[in-house]
Symmetry: C2
Subunit: 312 residues, 2 copies
């Protein structure tokens, strides 16, 4: 029993006429008769009562008709499912994101993606950049939205990743409102380095930590890291408590309490959000569609807010 035979059988069962069925199947009548005959020999029963004048289903034929209808419908739906899947209309997409992305492009991106790919099950996983890079390599994430990571960082002969900058914003200093620098229009690297700093564990977000280190390295003295915290919110808590200052993306402004002052850094150093994925899966339609949403949302947000940021 092969699918071709079932299709032939259904055509004859529909037409009850070998000639017309063959025509519908774009073939000639003799091989059609042969294939039907083969089915009949396989099952050990006639499927059609046929004379030269009349073709009729036997009871056994009617039984096969029901089964064949189910099978062919199943096959058609499988074909459609596969087509929808490769076209990116259905399926699953796991996207990781750094919490700070929540305050910039992410909400718009998600709204856009849900509109464009309504049937794709989108899983959003909040993770630090470092965690995302790991999960991207082992495939637990399809797309990562990370801050300042270098995808080429060689995890010893690991899966190659590809990144694309989707958003760039200024780095700002967050200071307790009472701090001498708190009322400034901007502060220099030299000035901020003198303040005790609240930083992050390099393991969890190597890109951002390295970026901040790089920016601060313009100063003659090294920064004095007085505290490491995992979340921006925690960092802001320490700042509000007067423990020290912290360098953060400008978009954190949205969750700044009155007790904290945000002061842009002189020289307008920036930090970047990158969309990262496995180079191998660059042809994945859902991932590509998602990143397309990222580009579009970032573009319109730039139009709205002005190419970079930081007016208070």
């Amino acid at each position: 029993m092969e699918l071709r035979q079932l299709r032939y059988f259904m055509a004859v069962a529909d037409e009850l006429h070998f000639g017309r069925a063959a025509q519908k199947l774009h073939m000639s009548q003799p091989p059609l008769s042969v294939q039907i005959g083969r089915l009949e020999r396989e099952f050990g029963t006639t499927l059609f009562d046929r004379s030269t004048r009349r073709v009729q289903l036997t009871p056994a034929g009617r039984h096969l008709q029901e089964s064949a209808r189910r099978i062919l419908a199943e096959v058609d739906s499988a074909r459609a499912d596969m087509r929808d899947y490769v076209d990116g209309l259905t399926g699953q997409l796991s996207v990781g994101f750094v919490s700070s992305a929540n305050y910039t492009v992410l909400p718009d991106v998600v709204r856009l993606f849900r509109a464009r790919s309504a049937k794709v099950a989108l899983t959003l996983v909040p993770l630090t950049s470092g965690e995302q890079m790991e999960r991207l390599r082992d495939g637990r994430l399809d797309v990562g939205i990370v801050r300042d990571e270098n995808p080429a960082a060689d995890h010893v002969s690991s899966v190659p990743l590809t990144a694309e900058v989707v958003f760039e914003e200024r780095l700002v200093a967050c200071l307790p409102i009472g701090h001498p620098l708190a009322q400034r229009i901007e502060v220099t690297v030299d000035e901020i380095v003198a303040v005790p700093m609240i930083s992050y564990p390099r393991l969890l977000m190597p890109g951002f930590v390295d970026r901040v280190t790089e920016v601060l390295s313009a100063a003659p003295h090294a920064a004095n890291v007085i505290q490491e915290v995992v979340h921006q919110e925690t960092a802001l808590g320490f700042v509000a408590a007067g423990v020290g200052a912290s360098i953060l993306p400008a978009s954190v402004r949205q969750l700044i309490p009155a007790s904290i002052a945000v002061v842009p850094l002189a020289g307008a150093p920036t930090t970047r959000l990158l969309a990262v994925r496995q180079t191998r899966t660059m042809d994945d339609v859902r991932g590509t569609a998602f990143i397309e949403c990222l580009r579009d949302a970032a573009a319109s947000s730039r139009v709205l807010t002005g190419s970079q940021t930081s007016k208070r």
Copy 2:
């Protein structure tokens, strides 16, 4: 997409190893790779991530896996269904019967058939012999249990029918209890012909009417038919009312009221139950199984009651 390809695909998906999958499929590895590649080109996506070291399903592959599993299961069950059907384990069987068969073999037959072919849906249709012959010819009945019909009766180039005698019993005269002949051990044809007779419409049961006519034709005078009725029960009602006598199969004794006497006919003429079916469908397993039950039940009933019948 062909079933073979789906089977190959599932083998590789199970083994995650082309060589072992090929072995399991009793074929060599190269054509297996080719067929998988063909599927992938058809769907426009890779189904396996494969290096020489590792074979893994892609997400698209997992989607196809689910569909393929369903399809192959559906095909297997279709094959099993067809096998069960041609083996006569399942299906439908329409059997017609004359009401008088209810008093002889029929209950045993049905019990036997239900035991032997439990999953076959048996439809029992009470019909006169004439009605059954018509429905047998146009296929509305698979098997008919008729009385004294001649299947060769040429319904003008119609479907040929085949009959088999399954039960033979004596014809008896039914008389009002007060009738002069009612106390006799037996009556002759000459004697009964003198009594007004209750008969049946020849159109509905030509075989039985002709048989009775044939038996009575041994008498010098023709019978005096005073009433025609459709059902035995009605005939007995007329007899009980003293309207006349009626010739019936001996098995009617079971529904004789006290007001009617049953007297065997001299010469022990008999009437026969026949199982009839289309000659064309003599290979139908369910019909054959049913008739087998008829033979077996009739045989054991003969053993129990003695080859023919009629002791009171």
